[in-house]
Structure formats: C-alpha cells, structure tokens
C-alpha cells in the first residue's frame, strides 16, 4: 500500500499557546484515518498544516511524496479540503460553485464538465445544480461542501468535522459517501468528535488531546491497549448458571456471569468467538433468543487516556 500522506513531527504554536506539539501520522491509499479529539485539541490546526494553509513551526508534510509548504502550490492538486464551515458561495448556483473551484485546480473544461456531472450525481444534487445555494437546505449545502472537495479527484481528502449540525438523514448520506471513497482508493483524513463516526468510518484512529497524539491504531489496537474487552449479552431461557459455567470454560472468555434474562460474557474478540460460543450454549439445551455484542468503545479509551470526556 502506498503512503499518500506522511506528517512528521508537526509543531505549531500561537503566541504562548502550543496548539500542536509533535504530531506524526501516515495515511495509506484507500485508508480512512480519523483524528479524534475534543474541541480545541489541535485537530483543525493539524489539518490546516496538512492542507498547506498554515506553516508548521517544525515538522514536515508530504502528500504523494511532495513536500507541502504554504508558499508553494506544489502538491496542492493532490489534496481536497472540506472545511468545517459550509465554505461555498450562497449567491452562486451549485454548478457555478463547482465550476469555479474546478478552474482554480486547473481542470480542463471538458474534463471539468464530465467530472461536474459525476460529482453532482454522487452528492445527489443533479436536479438542483442551477439553483442558488442560498435556497438549499443545510444538508444539501453540506453535501455540496463535500462535493467541491472531491471534484478535482484528490488523492487525499481532508474532512474537517463534516457532520456538525447536520440532520440524521443527511449525516447518513455523508457517512455513506465517505465509506465509498476508500473503495475508490482515496486516502481520507477525517476529524470528528463523534465517537460513532470514528468507529464506523475509520480504519485507524489517532486520539489527540492538548496538541499531542495520545494513541494511534485500529480501533481494536486502541482498545486492547487499555485492556478493554468485548461484551456479549446472550439472552437465553433455562439454567443460566449452567450456561455461564459452560461458556466460561472457553479459552477466549475472561468472564461469564448470569444476568437478568441471560448471560453476560467478557471476551477478547467477540466476532471470532461467537460461532463456538453459540454452539456450546445450544449444547446445554438452553434456548437462545438473542445475542447482542458491544465492542468496547473509543469513548472509554478516550476517557482512559485523557481523563476527560470526549464531548464538551
């Protein structure tokens, strides 16, 4: 897998405040990387440096092998930025907005026309392309906001909190389109303070707080780092004590205890354990009516690492 973004040792301070203090991470082609942290953790400063908007005090950023500097346009075409604000012109139509930014990226007219249609299709605004953006709903504006970032086929797409203040339906549409992107081989840098989004979308996550990456890895790596286990609730009828005893004999199970109407199981990896676990339970003659798996969430990891809750 090719590395698209390599950020190394980024440091940036404003006056007395050290906003980012030695942040490094890499993102490979087709990978979605999440920067997870509360407001003010240094997420926006980090991605501003990655996008070439802000010069780091020290450290380097390479996108597709090109060094990114604020005073140079080299490598910019490989980056697509979706700012946190709805950064579009309300008095232009959707198509005019896309066309303007496409031209800033030096897209030839015929290619721009073709790509414009594709993007409008993807963000579901083909029908409304000639309407003024000021007449759009908030969700439609958000979708266009992302569409502009995709237009010039960047190799790295930076999404800064793209779902803030978005209705659940549009939010889902946005998340789905981000999921599709990795299939197209685009590297995605995604910042959020929504745990569920990071868990759903990101192949790897960096937890950032007070300008420092506290931990980085796949969700599973992060979770095991702090020793958190998957929790499986098996809803069964019959002898709950017997079921718990049988389950506890499995090597991957740490603990099994009877609860209200079933058995609670703590294990390392629920998904690989589940088939065997259900077979064992069935063998006791108990009647399984439901299984619920809750993997340990990043919220707990975050709390563990930083000692504070993720949401303000």
């Amino acid at each position: 897998m090719t590395t698209v973004l390599a950020a190394e040792g980024l440091i940036k301070s404003f006056d007395d405040l050290i906003a980012v203090n030695g942040v490094s991470f890499e993102i490979a082609e087709g990978e979605t990387f999440g920067l997870l942290g509360p407001n003010g953790a240094g997420k926006t400063t980090s991605i501003s440096m990655v996008a070439g908007l802000l010069e780091p005090d020290s450290g380097t950023i390479h996108v597709a092998g090109t060094l990114i500097r604020t005073n140079s346009t080299a490598g910019r075409s490989d980056i697509g930025l979706v700012p946190q604000e709805i950064a579009i012109y309300p008095d232009l139509t959707a198509a005019e907005n896309l066309r303007f930014f496409g031209r800033l990226y030096d897209m030839p007219d015929d290619e721009l026309d073709k790509r414009l249609r594709e993007v409008l299709e993807v963000i579901g605004l083909s029908e409304r392309q000639d309407d003024l953006v000021s007449e759009f709903s908030g969700g439609m504006q958000r979708r266009l906001n992302i569409g502009i970032g995709l237009l010039h086929r960047p190799r790295l797409l930076i999404l800064d909190e793209p779902t803030v203040g978005v209705d659940p339906q549009s939010r889902n549409a946005i998340l789905e389109s981000v999921e599709d992107l990795s299939g197209e081989g685009i590297a995605v840098l995604y910042t959020t303070h929504y745990m569920e989004e990071a868990e759903r979308l990101c192949d790897r996550v960096a937890i950032i707080d007070e300008g420092v990456v506290k931990a980085e890895g796949t969700r599973r790596e992060l979770v095991s780092l702090v020793g958190e286990k998957d929790r499986i609730r098996v809803t069964v009828g019959g002898d709950l004590v017997e079921v718990a005893r049988v389950v506890a004999e499995l090597p991957a199970v740490h603990e099994a205890s009877p609860a209200d109407s079933g058995v609670d199981v703590l294990a390392d990896d629920a998904s690989s354990l589940l088939p065997e676990l259900l077979t064992r339970v069935a063998a006791t003659g108990a009647n399984v009516t439901g299984v619920a798996v809750s993997e340990p969430n990043l919220e707990a990891v975050f709390l563990h690492l930083t000692g504070k809750a993720l949401r303000d």
Binding site: T70, A87, E96, F100
Partner: protein
C-alpha cells in the same frame, strides 16, 4: 494571473447578484448629485448675477451727470443694470420691493461742493440682503468721489506749492486736473477657469466620494471569505496567495472603473456635467480608482471582520471626502485647511479635473495623476504586504 481574474470574475458575479455594489456605486451618487444639482444649481452661477443699481440725480449738474455717464458705461459692459429714478421715494420703494438691489442718491449741491472743495455726501441705499450689489454701488460712488478728490487735491497742492492758479484759473485748472488720466489703471491678467462649474462639481464630488465605498466591495471580500470559510478553500487550491489578493484588487478596480464610467456618462447627459478631454479624464479616473483601492486595501488588512472593515472604511471615506472637498470646496487661498486637503486623494482628483474641465489640455492632469499614483504606490504596497500576511494568519 489566470486564478486572480477567475476569482475576480466569480466575485463580480456575486456582486451583481447582490446589487449592493450597484446601489452604492451608481444609484446613490447619481441620485445625490442630481438632488444637489437641483438645490444648488442656481447658486453656483449667482456670482455672475446682474447687479440692479438705481440712480437718483437731484443735483443735475455737469459733475453729477458724469457719474451717470460712468454708470451707463458699466451697464454697456454688462456689469450692472442701471435704472434712473426721479426721486428718492421711488427708488426706496423699488429697493423695498426687490425690484432693484441698491440705489445711489445724488442730492442737490453736489456740483457746487465739488468745485468749492466742500464736504459732500453721496448716499447709497441697499437692500439688507443684497450686500454685494450695495457694496459695488458704494465702490462706484467712492471711485467717482476719489476722482473729484484728485481734481480738488491737484489744485490745492499746486496752490500750496506757491505757484498756484489765479482765482479765475481755479475752475479751469480743476477741470484740467479732472480730465487727466488717473495715476493708475487696471490691466487684465489672463487666467483660465480651473474651477468646476456646479453641475460638474457635484457629479465629480459624489462620484469620487462614493468610489471609496464601491471599491470596498472588492477588498472586503477577502474578510468575508475568511468568515465564511471559503478562503481556506482558495488557499488550499494550487494557486499562489498573491492570486487571491490580486483577485480582490482586480474586482475593486473593476467595480470602481465601472461605477465611475457609468457616472461620468450619466451625469454628462443628465446634468450637463463637463468632465473635459476624455483621455485626461480616463487617466485621472484610473489613477483615482487605483488610489482608492489601495487605501481601502489597507483598511481591509487592518480590520478583523468584514463589518469592522466596512465601518472603519466608512469613517475614513467620509473624513477624506469631507477634507478633500467633495461636498463643498475646502479652504481659502493657501490656508491650513487648503493644504491639509491635499493629503487626500479626493482633493487631487478634484484638482486634476478642474485643470481640464475648463478647456485645458489632457496633459494638465498629469500632476494630479502623479499624486494619485503616489498614493497608490504607498498604500498599495502596504496593503499588498499586509493582506498577504493576513492570509496565513
């Protein structure tokens, strides 16, 4: 350059849809210039008004008639309109009813007093609100009086020198002295008119005053883009930072140029404004728009928000406009205010226009254009540096 014009083109489209720039840049100055033209149109030419002067000659001697002759000479030169009245009551009534502005009363005994060198008083009666005419009538009477005085003094001086005229000769010497050419005369020094007529003054004043508000729509766009987040998009694109600043400057320049051009053409046809030779006007307008863009660029660079820049810009534009004499002429002669006025681009614009609107060659705008370009150089450089720096903050 491509990116800069692209950004300017996009902004121009936004401004056209928004219509604010159109109202500020064209409708407002045109409406105000037209209203001022209606209100003040008459007063600007009032300086050359006909002076209505009456004469009541109750003396009716050779001496008194010579004043009547002098007055009719002035009338034939078009300086005043003379009306002769039979008595003071008729003249008084005419003044009170506003038919004549002032009258000169020559009472009986004037001729004798002149010859015998006795004190005598000419009365000038004027309407209290026609001070100029009263003053002129009084000056004419004084001038006449001083001719009499010169004649009297000539004879008296000769007598005092010891070899004066015999008593019989006194009158003929007096006549001789009176007929001599006066010891001084006025000669005309030629001057052109380098002052704008009323219509052109208000058209030009309003155009250049609102120019500063119009060009603001360009450079302030930078702050608006920052607030809306689109600036991040522009900066992330593969274009130089200078293209973004240049795009805004180009828009400012274009808006200013469009507004000035429309106003010049409109006021020329609607209000008979005389702007002067097109080449000179074009140079002046270009230099003026550049200077305005530069100054408003510095303001945009020092403000923290678009609203803040608009408010500060309005204050600066109003102060400069007032001091630069766009609403009323500033300063008399070479006093402090008149000198201060030249610290504003407005004053230079008005001066340059004054130099050519009265029929001067287009080259006469060059000093004013030079001054405006100096403003552009100084403020433009500061704005260019500060605005680029602002982008990366």
């Amino acid at each position: 350059m491509g990116a800069a014009t692209l950004i300017a083109g996009k902004d121009l489209r936004l401004r056209v849809r928004d219509r604010s720039a159109f109202i500020m840049g064209i409708v407002t100055p045109l409406a105000l210039a037209y209203i001022f033209h209606l209100v003040f149109g008459g007063t600007f030419t009032a300086e050359a008004l006909d002076l209505e002067v009456g004469l009541v000659d109750l003396d009716n001697t050779q001496v008194s008639q010579s004043l009547a002759e002098a007055l009719s000479g002035l009338e034939s030169e078009g300086i005043l309109v003379l009306t002769e009245f039979d008595d003071a009551t008729a003249a008084q009534t005419a003044v009170e009813e506003g038919e004549t502005d002032a009258y000169i009363l020559l009472n009986p005994g004037l001729g004798d007093a002149a010859i015998q060198a006795k004190p005598f008083t000419i009365e000038v009666v004027g309407d209290v609100d026609s001070q100029t005419t009263t003053q002129v009538a009084s000056s004419i009477a004084s001038e006449f009086g001083s001719a009499i005085e010169r004649s009297q003094l000539s004879v008296t001086t000769a007598i005092a020198l010891g070899e004066g005229p015999s008593p019989e000769e006194v009158v003929s010497w007096g006549e001789e002295a009176a007929l001599r050419p006066p010891p001084f005369a006025f000669t005309d020094v030629s001057a052109e008119t380098r002052q704008l007529d009323g219509n052109t003054f208000f058209a030009a004043g309003m155009a250049v005053f609102f120019l500063f508000f119009t060009v603001q729509f360009g450079v302030i766009g930078l702050l608006e883009e920052r607030q809306s987040g689109t600036l991040a998009r522009l900066l992330a694109a593969p274009i130089g930072h200078s293209s973004v600043v240049a795009g805004k400057a180009i828009l400012s320049f274009a808006l200013g140029l469009i507004s000035m051009t429309v106003l010049i053409v409109a006021t020329h046809y609607l209000m008979d404004a005389r702007w002067g030779p097109p080449l000179g006007v074009a140079l002046l307008v270009i230099a003026g728009v550049l200077a305005a863009t530069s100054i408003m660029g510095v303001i945009a660079a020092t403000a923290t928000s678009a609203d803040g820049a608009a408010n500060l810009g309005a204050i600066i534009a109003v102060i400069l406009g007032m001091l630069g004499g766009t609403f009323f002429p500033i300063g008399q002669g070479n006093d402090l205010l008149a000198r201060l006025s030249y610290l504003t681009p407005h004053a230079w614009f008005m001066r340059g226009l004054s130099d050519i609107s009265g029929g001067g060659e287009w080259t006469e705008v060059l000093p004013a254009v030079g001054a405006l370009l100096l403003f552009t150089l100084v403020f433009g450089t500061v704005a260019w540096v500060l605005l680029q720096r602002k982008l990366t903050q």
